[in-house]
Symmetry: C2
Subunit: 473 residues, 2 copies
């Protein structure tokens, strides 16, 4: 029997020429999308289930042509996208999937490197270390800090707290938390929910987090922190970590890190700084004092995917003593041992995940494309736009600002009831021109305007203000 | 003063036309790379520090042209890449960044969606649910399972074990593990290191994991599991979870899931199945019985980025009762509340990370491009190639096979000392034509040949065998 008949030709992957054809189509589509992005409503206008309702319930049995898939992407999925890359996106924190970052992601997917070990791509490990060191210099952290990438700030903070837990010498890695004194970590009442989530994950529980009251402008009170630590210690808790925030989520308040570092030094606690958003301002020389005290931290997270224009996900975790986190997490089974042994960095040793995407590539490309100077220029302008918007709010009767504007976010409301503001936000977001989000400040519903997208200009911020004032109460 | 002079023109992002130009160059490069990938050595030939040594120590101050960055990528970084997308890559588990998957990643980076909430891109959430349901059907899991994406199997397993921990009713979420009885989970001695790492992270400690002996072909012994649970219970431990593996890392052995499910039912333990690699064979009808018993699991992980040709990272976690994991992790601060409330799925509720990349897009594109049938055809061929290689080993005097070949990995060695085999592996990998890895089987050094890349054909496997036999002992 003819061998070629018995074994059908193995089809393998998409042919490279076919890839080039569809790849160019995808690139052309992206270029057009970025050029015409303002023709899309920022916030998706779909109802729950509307997108799912257009997708077949049955799994695809046979191969579908790439043209069809790309057409379905545009026709079926795009109406259900909230456009984070739109200049009118001013909700949560504004972010950007920049040109160099998009190209970095495409190249990384083509290489499809798993950088778990040095040898599984030396360039992935060495570029990650180098690019993170560049970012460290750019934001002004001192030399002892060593950085690596986690997917999100939530995981960076989790890994940092795990390092803090290990640093107690209580042998949590070996024996777990059962039988130990109850451990406690501290953050302000304004800290991000990821701190509490990390405590849940790490087995410390929600009650393992004590939230310290803030001052009148939403900064952790160092005196209250000190008192809480003393009280807890007297009651049998084991304090072990403080999480300070540079740029809280609601108001972008900046905790007094120098004073908090003093408290940590006094009681021997690990200081982690959540600068996921705010850390980016370190690239702006005249704003760098917002990071004062961070040089004394044990760990610090800053997210290049937030305000440094790298596509999501890319979170940079800096550690003063990376060997502690390594001690907490490193496990090397036989099948992951390599001849290089301890003479190289194996990045799998620094967190819970083994597999590791080549995220450093897009970071490297973005840092080089803009340069420190270019990043500073853009961040400076975002802050100027936020201050300008704040001035408009301050000058307008019937409107009030609810927090200072140290960075690029303005928190404000129309004087009146919560319902009024909620209603107003819905109207403005329904315009499709801008998307703002909300928070609560001391229990009151507040609107948030967050500048952070590379395409956002004064015209977009002015339009948001126009829409807000025109909305019917 | 002229306003245009006072405020310099804000530069924003790369211009869309410039993006199109560089994007096409990147796509053309990728197409050529995929076509000529066999001209690269699979395993990078660089020495530690060699790549870093070519990267400037000082952070870039000024913007660099994209042409320069792309040229540096090729000149400086590429020599330090281990080519996971090369058909000669047969180390660890073979994977593929397929054409449709690469395009999916590029599109996702351009949209730059953070799918943390339904409203932050309804299509991201609804597509993830639908694509995961397709994959569920494809691998033959029953209807109650609901899937979502985590970055890696390590995190999927961590989230599953956190669900198991929560299901005990011990209120770990609220109060943590201190003061509770010591909890224990079970896996085989062949289980992946990520199980132990999850236990460390979750505060259970390494001693919270008991490794159950395996039978002569590396499958967990259900009788030994049952005895261990009884012994631990008598000694004051609180057993709560069993992790069974379908396709272990060293030998791809398949634990007897039906018997393990019986044990879990008897003692009321959560059953998690690590099918990160092996789960893919569910798409091949005649191989589906390898997943027998998985329908009784509480959770199961299968990685589309392993053997389903999706670029790293994309791990699918299926949960029988997702509400338990939601109860463990959900935290909704004011700034993340939405008008849709509980009427929609907010994927941030199902794990430790808040931020969420639009990974479902590449999964959806890949599943449609190949179809169930196309995936099965390729996986079937990979298994055939592995069986054929095993036959060659079996037929060759002086070589021995160390484990059965239920999937696409062959574990074998040349008869003789460990050193001999280690030396042999180094020679073969130095060829640049193939990259194999190793493990230890009952203490003995063993070579592993893992078929899983879409470009790997019989010729590549035959060449590996040729190189192995030709290597000088």
């Amino acid at each position: 029997m003819d061998e070629t008949l018995r074994t059908p030709v193995y089809p393998g992957d998409m042919d490279p020429e076919e890839f080039r054809h569809h790849g160019r189509a995808a690139i052309d589509w992206i270029a057009a999308y970025l050029r015409e992005i303002e023709s899309y409503p920022v916030l998706a206008r779909t109802r729950p289930g509307e997108i799912a309702g257009q997708l077949p319930v049955r799994a695809p049995e046979h191969s579908v042509a790439m043209e069809t898939i790309l057409a379905d992407f545009q026709r079926t999925l795009l109406p259900g996208i909230t456009h984070w890359n739109h200049p009118g996106f001013m909700a949560y924190f504004g972010i950007t999937g920049s040109g160099p970052g998009i190209l970095g992601e495409a190249l990384a997917a083509a290489l499809n490197v798993n950088g778990m070990l040095w040898r599984t791509s030396p360039a992935a490990t060495e570029l990650e270390e180098r690019a993170l060191d560049w970012l460290r210099q750019m934001i002004g952290l001192p030399d002892p800090f060593r950085g690596h990438i986690q997917d999100t700030a939530s995981l960076s903070t989790l890994v940092a707290i795990a390092g803090a837990r290990e640093s107690t010498g209580l042998e949590v890695r070996e024996h777990g938390l059962a039988g130990l004194p109850r451990m406690r970590l501290y953050c302000s009442a304004e800290a991000h929910s990821s701190v509490e989530k990390a405590a849940i994950t790490l087995g410390l529980g929600r009650s393992g987090v004590r939230k310290i009251p803030t001052d009148e402008i939403f900064r952790m009170r160092a005196d209250a922190l000190s008192a809480a630590i003393q009280e807890d210690t007297a009651n049998g808790w084991r304090p072990f970590c403080v999480v300070a925030t540079v740029g809280t989520t609601s108001t972008t308040s900046v905790d007094p890190v120098p004073e908090i570092a003093d408290v940590c030094a006094r009681y021997g606690l690990w200081l982690h700084v959540d600068a996921a958003y705010g850390g980016a301002v370190g690239v702006v020389p005249e704003m760098r004092d917002l990071l004062a005290g961070c040089e004394r931290a044990d760990s610090l997270v800053v997210n290049p995917h937030k305000w440094l224009f790298v596509p999501i996900d890319c979170s940079a975790l800096y550690l003063r003593r990376p060997e502690i986190v390594r001690r907490a997490f490193s496990l090397v089974p036989d099948y992951l041992q390599t001849p290089e042994g301890v003479h190289v960095t194996n990045l799998m040793d620094y967190g819970p995940a083994l597999g590791r995407r080549f995220r450093a590539l897009k970071l490297w490309m973005t840092l080089r494309f803009f340069g420190r100077e270019g990043l500073a220029e853009r961040i400076r302008e975002h802050c100027r736009l936020a201050r300008e918007f704040a001035e408009w709010v301050d000058a307008e009767p019937g409107w009030e600002r609810l927090a200072p504007v140290p960075l690029s976010v303005v928190v404000f409301r129309r004087s009146g009831e919560d319902d009024l503001n909620e209603h107003l936000l819905e109207q403005v977001n329904a315009s499709g021109e801008v998307f703002l989000s909300h928070t609560r400040i001391r229990g009151r519903y507040a609107l948030r305007l967050a500048v952070g997208n590379l395409r956002t200009t004064q015209a977009h911020v002015a339009r948001a203000w126009e829409l807000l004032r025109a909305a019917q109460p």
